[in-house]
């Protein structure tokens, strides 16, 4: 009974436990079902999301591709087109049906281009992507330029099955490029033509201008009244200005073309600076501006450099300084920066107390056609090329011009140049022959070859004036006939002439047997281009004289090549003192004149000092009016006074002045000499004052 009850309880417990377990299991099953459902939902959603993302990105790239206007073309290994996009169809104006199934090179490449492009097509088989440009033929036969990026593509097993080419149409760009290139060429040709025109015109203008300058010199030597002299001066200065303008334009054309040739020769830099000083001393005469040239006394040797370019820069800088300085001073200095056995570096500085340059203009003043402001052109004239030319010249010699300036406080321009030192020492004093009657040895005969009748007239008048014998040939051919039977001492040869030019004639003279094979020949030419000098020397010329030349320049040349006789006591020989040279009271002279009579000496010197200023101002006015005879008379009157007070040197100077005036020398030469006299008179006054 107990056993049965026990079993019944057990069965009851087991039943309950089973039901409990079944319930739990069912709950778990439901739970699992839900979890499973959720999982399924999640994955489906995910897949959809990924798919739509993929589709979006594909769409986006397709959009990008079609917006980029890239033509796509797929072709198989044999070149058969398998797929094209709309853009490509539009590019070549074929439908997709017309293209697919055709060999791309047959349908798209023009026959004559197939061969040259085969290489590119073959390259494509090398299984690497390439970018190249190609001409493709549209359906209507017109050609377009495409940039192609071709890349291989592969099947699932990694075998290359074809290429995908991306095309970009650059027809417009290519056309534009071509047009630009042509436009540039046209512009360059036009610029070249313009430059050539400028050069030719300047050249053409120079020849008649040469005559104007020359003739005005000759005119100056004739009897003129005061008014005529004044007109003539205006004529001359205008011609000078015009000449400078043209020179600048020519220089500019040369510099712009990068043609500055540095021609090195030995020259005396101290002498050059002194000569320039003299020129500007005269120019500044009518302004209350003092000009000083301070040259480092340690400069003992001549230098090897381009004299012409050096002169051009210094003259230009001094020209600017005198142009823009109304009162005060201009100081030109040359100082040694560094000196070695073989070379010397010199700093050149031009400092003025003129109007100065505003700070914001300092940077542009070296540019072509730039002046500090537009009113300068109105008030002072000029092309605005000067400083640009100077800078280019100095740069061609590996240096730079530097400027310091402030408005109203003057300007300082400076640059350093390195020269090779020459063996020759500088000359302390310069010998100038100023008078017309150069004692050229009789028998010297000159042949001048010149086609222009006015130039011929100018030359013959000058040679006549100097009592020289000469013959004239109208062109090179006539010259070659003349030289065959007459021996000349010097031949002056124009370059540009009809029938036979100067180069050809000189070549004949130098290369054929004749008495003049070794006669010096000087080229006369209106061209100032440096390479003409080289060319001239190459052709056998001995020297070179740029037209228009002034009488002293020609005279210098003649003296260089013709035998001449300068007598020791010749009054025609004038010694032009270095401006720095001081004059000194000659005590011996005073003793000779006055003995021991101090009273008398004092009286005379006092009287001299009381009257000298007035006398000098009379002379000053006479020189300004330019009447030779009056100048001569006043010089004659004044000359003995200076010996009386112990300055015989000045008496000599007045003798020269008297001679210059008597021989109707140019007023310029007279002024040059006169300015030396005034310098000395200024120096002697304090010496005399202290003496008494």
């Amino acid at each position: 009974m107990d056993k049965i009850a026990l079993l019944e309880r057990r069965v009851e417990r087991e039943k309950k436990a089973r039901k409990q377990a079944e319930k739990i299991l069912e709950e778990k099953a439901i739970e699992l079902f839900h979890v499973n459902q959720e999982l399924k939902n999640i994955s489906e959603k995910k897949i959809n999301q990924i798919q739509s993302k993929f589709e979006n990105s594909q769409k986006r790239y397709q959009n990008v591709l079609s917006n980029l206007n890239l033509g796509l073309l797929e072709q198989d290994q044999e070149g058969y087109i398998t797929k094209v996009n709309k853009v490509f169809c539009e590019m070549v104006d074929y439908t997709s049906e017309e293209l697919v199934g055709n060999i791309s090179s047959n349908i798209l490449l023009p026959d004559d281009l197939t061969a040259s492009d085969n290489k590119k097509l073959i390259d494509r088989n090398l299984e690497e992507s390439k970018i190249y440009d190609i001409k493709v033929m549209r359906k209507d036969g017109t050609l377009i330029d495409l940039i192609v990026c071709g890349a291989p593509f592969y099947d699932d097993y990694g075998n290359m099955v074809g290429t995908l080419d991306v095309h970009y149409d650059v027809t417009k760009e290519k056309k534009l490029q071509q047009e630009l290139k042509e436009a540039k060429e046209i512009a360059e040709r036009a610029q070249q033509a313009e430059k050539q025109f400028l050069t030719n015109m300047s050249h053409e203008i120079k020849t008649p201008l040469n005559v104007i300058v020359g003739m005005s010199h000759l005119l100056n030597d004739t009897k003129l009244d005061a008014q005529q002299h004044e007109y003539l001066d205006i004529l001359k200065s205008s011609a000078d200005i015009l000449f400078n303008l043209i020179s600048e334009v020519l220089d500019f054309a040369k510099i712009d073309a990068g043609k500055i040739s540095v021609v090195n020769e030995e020259f005396d830099i101290v002498q050059e600076l002194n000569n320039i000083h003299k020129i500007f001393k005269i120019k500044l005469e009518n302004k209350p501006v003092s000009l000083q040239t301070k040259i480092d006394e340690k400069i003992q040797h001549c230098v090897v450099g381009d004299k012409k370019l050096f002169n051009q820069v210094i003259v230009n800088l001094l020209g600017n300084a005198s142009k823009f300085t109304e009162e005060g001073s201009i100081i030109c200095t040359a100082t040694i920066v560094h000196e070695s056995e073989t070379h010397i570096e010199i700093n050149f500085k031009v400092k003025d107390s003129g109007i100065g340059i505003a700070e914001d203009k300092l940077e542009t003043i070296f540019q072509n056609f730039e002046q500090a402001n537009e009113s300068i052109s109105k008030n002072y004239g000029g092309t605005g090329l000067g400083l640009a030319i100077c800078q280019s010249i100095v740069e061609a010699q590996n240096s730079t011009i530097k400027v310091q300036s402030a408005e109203g406080l003057g300007s300082t321009f400076q640059f350093n140049l390195v020269f090779e030192k020459s063996e020759r020492k500088i000359t302390e004093q310069d010998v100038f022959v100023e008078d017309s009657s150069v004692n050229l040895v009789a028998g010297s005969t000159i042949l001048y070859v010149e086609d222009n009748p006015l130039n011929s007239l100018y030359l013959s008048r000058l040679l006549d004036k100097w009592n020289l014998r000469y013959e004239h040939a109208e062109n090179g051919l006539i010259a070659t006939e003349k030289i065959a039977h007459t021996k000349y001492d010097l031949i002056l040869m124009d370059i540009q002439m009809p029938v036979m030019n100067g180069y050809q004639a000189t070549k004949v003279i130098r290369t054929t047997e004749n008495p003049n094979q070794k006669t010096p020949i000087a080229a006369l030419t209106a061209s100032t281009l440096g390479n003409n000098l080289d060319k001239a020397k190459d052709f056998g010329f001995s020297d070179f004289l740029a037209k228009p030349f002034q009488p002293p320049e020609l005279k210098k040349l003649l003296l260089k090549y013709l035998k001449h006789d300068i007598a020791d006591d010749s009054p025609e020989t004038a010694t032009v003192q270095n401006p720095k040279v001081k004059i000194q009271l000659d005590e011996n002279q005073l003793k000779q004149v006055f003995g021991d009579d101090e009273e008398y000496k004092k009286e005379i010197i006092t009287m001299f000092l009381e009257t000298i200023d007035e006398q000098m101002s009379v002379l000053d006015n006479l020189i300004k009016t330019g009447i030779h005879d009056d100048i001569r008379k006043q010089a004659h009157k004044l000359k003995p006074n200076f010996s009386m007070v112990g300055f015989p040197e000045l008496t000599d100077d007045f003798v020269i002045l008297e001679k210059l005036a008597k021989s109707n020398d140019t007023i310029e030469n007279i002024i040059t000499h006169y300015s030396l006299i005034t310098d000395k008179v200024d120096q002697l006054k304090p010496q005399l004052k202290s003496h008494i």
């Binding site: 026990l6 309880r9 057990r10 417990r13 309950k16 436990a17 089973r18 409990q20 377990a21 739990i24 299991l25 778990k28």
Partner: protein
């Protein structure tokens, strides 16, 4: 407490003392479940104490001896049904280390509501390992028996030193040493 602990306990009681004993201890204990257990259910752990104390009273065998005996039975059940946990360990110490770090982690995945003791292990040297048992159930004797049983499964004889860290037996330190033989 998981139902399997109860079903296996009653199984052991039946095997050892017959179903009469099972019926007796169920009847003598005040059980919320009325002694109806299924291995996949979850029941109040206090019922286990009631059952064990009833059995101890009836048989006059101390509770800790009964628990160790039950642990040996449970160890065999685990070894028979969850052998994979034994097979992945190369030796006994590795297995003991994996209880906290692997087996209990897996149990938690299946039964997030399971309340398990923690077994921190610290290997002292090649032959000695320390295990800290922590449980509010304070059934370190069951743990003791299970450790003993696993030693037989791995055929690695050991010596176990047990030491209460908390007097109430909620934190207990086992020092297990290999015995050469």
């Amino acid at each position: 407490m998981k139902g399997v602990v109860f079903t296996e306990f009653l199984e052991m009681v039946e095997d050892t003392f017959g179903y009469e004993m099972v019926d007796e201890i169920i009847s003598n204990s005040d059980l919320e479940s009325n002694g109806v257990y299924t291995s996949i259910g979850t029941y109040d752990h206090k019922e286990m104490f009631s059952l064990v104390s009833s059995l101890s009273k009836k048989t006059e065998i101390p509770v800790h001896t009964l628990l160790k005996k039950y642990a040996h039975h449970l160890g065999d059940f685990f070894h028979g049904n969850y052998n994979a946990f034994y097979a992945r360990a190369a030796n006994l110490f590795e297995f003991l280390e994996s209880i906290e770090n692997f087996i209990h982690v897996e149990v938690k995945k299946l039964y997030p509501d399971a309340e398990l003791p923690t077994f921190e292990t610290r290997k002292i040297d090649h032959d000695n390992i320390e295990m800290i048992y922590k449980s509010t159930r304070k059934m370190s004797d069951l743990a003791y028996g299970l450790i003993e049983k696993s030693s037989t499964h791995f055929k690695e004889p050991i010596e176990i030193k047990k030491e209460n860290i908390e007097e109430d037996g909620s934190v207990v330190r086992f020092l297990i040493s290999r015995v050469d033989g």
